[in-house]
Symmetry: C2
Subunit: 525 residues, 2 copies
Amino acid sequence: MHGQNFIAGELSAQGKTTLLASKPGTGEVLPGSFTEASAAELDRACRAAAAAFPVTRALSGKDKAAYLRAIADEILALGDTLIQRACAESALPEARITGERGRTIGQLKLFADLVEEGSWVDARIDPAMPERLPLPRPDIRSMKRALGPVAVFGASNFPLAFSTAGGDTASAFAAGCPVVVKAHPFHPGTAELVAQAIDAAVKKCGLPAGTFSMLHGAGAGVGQALVVHPAIKAVGFTGSLGAGRAIYLACAQRPEPIPVFAELGANNPQFILPGALATRSAALAAGLAGSITMGAGQFCTNPGMTVLVDDAAGRAFAAQLGEELAKLAPGTAVACPIASSYEKGLAAKLAAGEVELIAKSKVAPVRAESAMIPALIATSAKNYLAKPELAHEVFGPVSLIVWVKSTADFVAFASQLEGQLTAAVHGEATELADAAKLLAVLEEKAGRVIVNQFPTGVEVCHAIFHGGPFPASTAASTTSVGSGAIERFTRPVCYQNLPQSLLPAELRDDNPLGLMRLVNGQRTR
Amino acid sequence: MHGQNFIAGELSAQGKTTLLASKPGTGEVLPGSFTEASAAELDRACRAAAAAFPVTRALSGKDKAAYLRAIADEILALGDTLIQRACAESALPEARITGERGRTIGQLKLFADLVEEGSWVDARIDPAMPERLPLPRPDIRSMKRALGPVAVFGASNFPLAFSTAGGDTASAFAAGCPVVVKAHPFHPGTAELVAQAIDAAVKKCGLPAGTFSMLHGAGAGVGQALVVHPAIKAVGFTGSLGAGRAIYLACAQRPEPIPVFAELGANNPQFILPGALATRSAALAAGLAGSITMGAGQFCTNPGMTVLVDDAAGRAFAAQLGEELAKLAPGTAVACPIASSYEKGLAAKLAAGEVELIAKSKVAPVRAESAMIPALIATSAKNYLAKPELAHEVFGPVSLIVWVKSTADFVAFASQLEGQLTAAVHGEATELADAAKLLAVLEEKAGRVIVNQFPTGVEVCHAIFHGGPFPASTAASTTSVGSGAIERFTRPVCYQNLPQSLLPAELRDDNPLGLMRLVNGQRTR
């Protein structure tokens, strides 16, 4: 581990502050001393990105695909070194990290396929009508093009799939944008290894040096300076409400405001209908406990709220779910500050009044400072709605049961919810038929509505949407997962009356790329 | 003219302040005393919009099309009353207002056709793969759905096409959003008439009363209160940089931030290459003078900057353009404050130093207080880049010639420009072939690049894009003109594992609406 920043193809460590990485499960300090980027290094990275942009925005889909696949290859070539470092820094088990590497590579390849095929640009052509009356129609064409240099923040909970070469970086590169990554200080060694892989791919593909940079930084300083740099034209962020909101406001107040695609938090409510409880409460309790504790509860789609009718069946289910959670071992946080935030958040909920602790894991943790102890707490819908602090996400393996008086109250309660990434309804066929109203309300609140499945495990595909109304996201109409994520880092450009020779290939009459296009309002190849 | 607000289907005038309309060309006060909406009326309108939303978001494409066409019919049925009032309030000539009514109706019908066909929702289906290893793929589907109640601000310069039933309102209705309009105080009578037409259409189509409201307000008060109302989920605005920026920041600072689609201003540079000057300078001068003075210069696409090489041909063209402008009669502003802003803006440019007045119309104005006097001013590229105040848009019939030393300087100057709605290059075939670099730079700066045509007159079609990097727009990836404008008022909703019977028709296996959809990543019906 050299601990340096990657500034447009060169290693650099001119800053005065360093940070260390440690094993969350033991406290053991890991090799490497990572130097925070200086203001001059940050400026160099951003200027180089701006200088690279005219080249990257004009890359063909084929060239971008080759680059994305080269990154995937280089990441794989890091082999066990990457897996071991990511496991050590995050305390996530090897199977999870190996799976996450697979997802990261899968995302890069999904975008490679998308840009190689090319129709994602939404090419539109309305040819000239010189004879039209009262005025001729000019020749008008448009397509999506890259937005400009993008700042991407590594996420604490996904050292690979949402970090240096994660979904935001992959989709920004796919769009044709240079990327400046701010590495997450919880896994700087993983960031260094992945940056090395991207850097190698940049060089192998002969791209401009400014296509990629990666900066280290522990506090808010580097990140805040990055997002207000005039060269940066968009931000990708996954993290806490406080940090995301600060970045969002800083970007709104820039002389040139820029979009911030920040995914900030959600409680992902589970509405469990009585029929489902009657027929399969044991399976539901086991499944929900598994979803709550998956990855030590460190998923943005963690089911942090369970809405139940306060009757005998509901109470029995709560007890059953509590028993499931009580027998599960505490997970280890990706870093100790996550565990202490979790503990504080849980304590704050319990201190809010009229919140009951139903169960807590009885298994001894590996290490108290990093323990994520599964828990189940409960309150009434009335109390929940009266106390805004109860709606704040607690990031960790806890679900808050919210008791409603009867199934008739599900809709009224749902209609009071804040924005969510996901919302799920569990029910039997007959009662689901009556749940259309509930689903309709949940659609207004969430980016993804789910029936009879749990929200953790986000499928990476074309139809997925991962986002939702604030605070789930600061840009509710955009997704951070799936092929649709490329759209965040683009804007349409319209061409009026250009000669064929000056048009991009995507918009020429002869359609040399064979794209699906909208011609006179009709989709056609 | 009753002068009341339309609050969810009812007329209401509880406010204490009134405003009047007058003929800008004479000062004559027009019939009607318009009562500003009170805080309670505003709240009622917004709450009614929220209450209407569950119904409007679920309307079929057919029902929305019928509603949009009913609005168009009702506007036409207002007949000459509307034309005469709009002409009187705006001083725009009858031919222009009649044309603008045609465009307004055309926009409503374009969106009606779009939602009736239905494929705009971008339905995506990735069916379940229960056998996939290592994990089964769940059934994932998504489509665009309405965002929620939208606040729309009437624009001063388009009393019909960008006001009460203008593009923003039409696209929001098409998406399935209720709309609360803040009428522009320069044409409150036109707003009342059009609101009456929309209100009649709401009633005829049996839609919820909260589908539409319209509020009067002269200062920033009503507008600012409207955009921070918790029920409002998006804002459409066309107007000044100052007002738009204030709205943008207010919305970013809300507890729940919301998107603001504000189109704020641009200089729409015209790069005129030497070959074009050599072969057709007279036609270019006449055409450019016509574009500069069209609508008394009150177009967001007004060519406010002309970039020329400082040589004999360039100087001759400037003189020729100046002569064309000098012989044109001053237009009349849509309201006196526009004319005084224009005069101040022009004076500020001339006072900035090293700015030359080349020509000013010598024709006497109809009325000094509302005169928009065509003018041509000039400065060097060096001076322009040194003084940020020279980049501020002056809304009116003036173009600033920017002198560059040679054609080689076009690219360097273009690369320093702020965001623009449009940028045009005028040249002969041979020199255009060498202008690819200039066009590439202009693409980075503008929403629409144009060759050998003028930017005024925005075609309403599928491929048009009207927007651009800030300050052209606060949302550079969205258009306010053309069928793509519907996307601003939507967000995708994803459905996981829903039974067929609970899915929207757009996403069912049997594709009952016959939509073009993305199934497993392939476009298909």
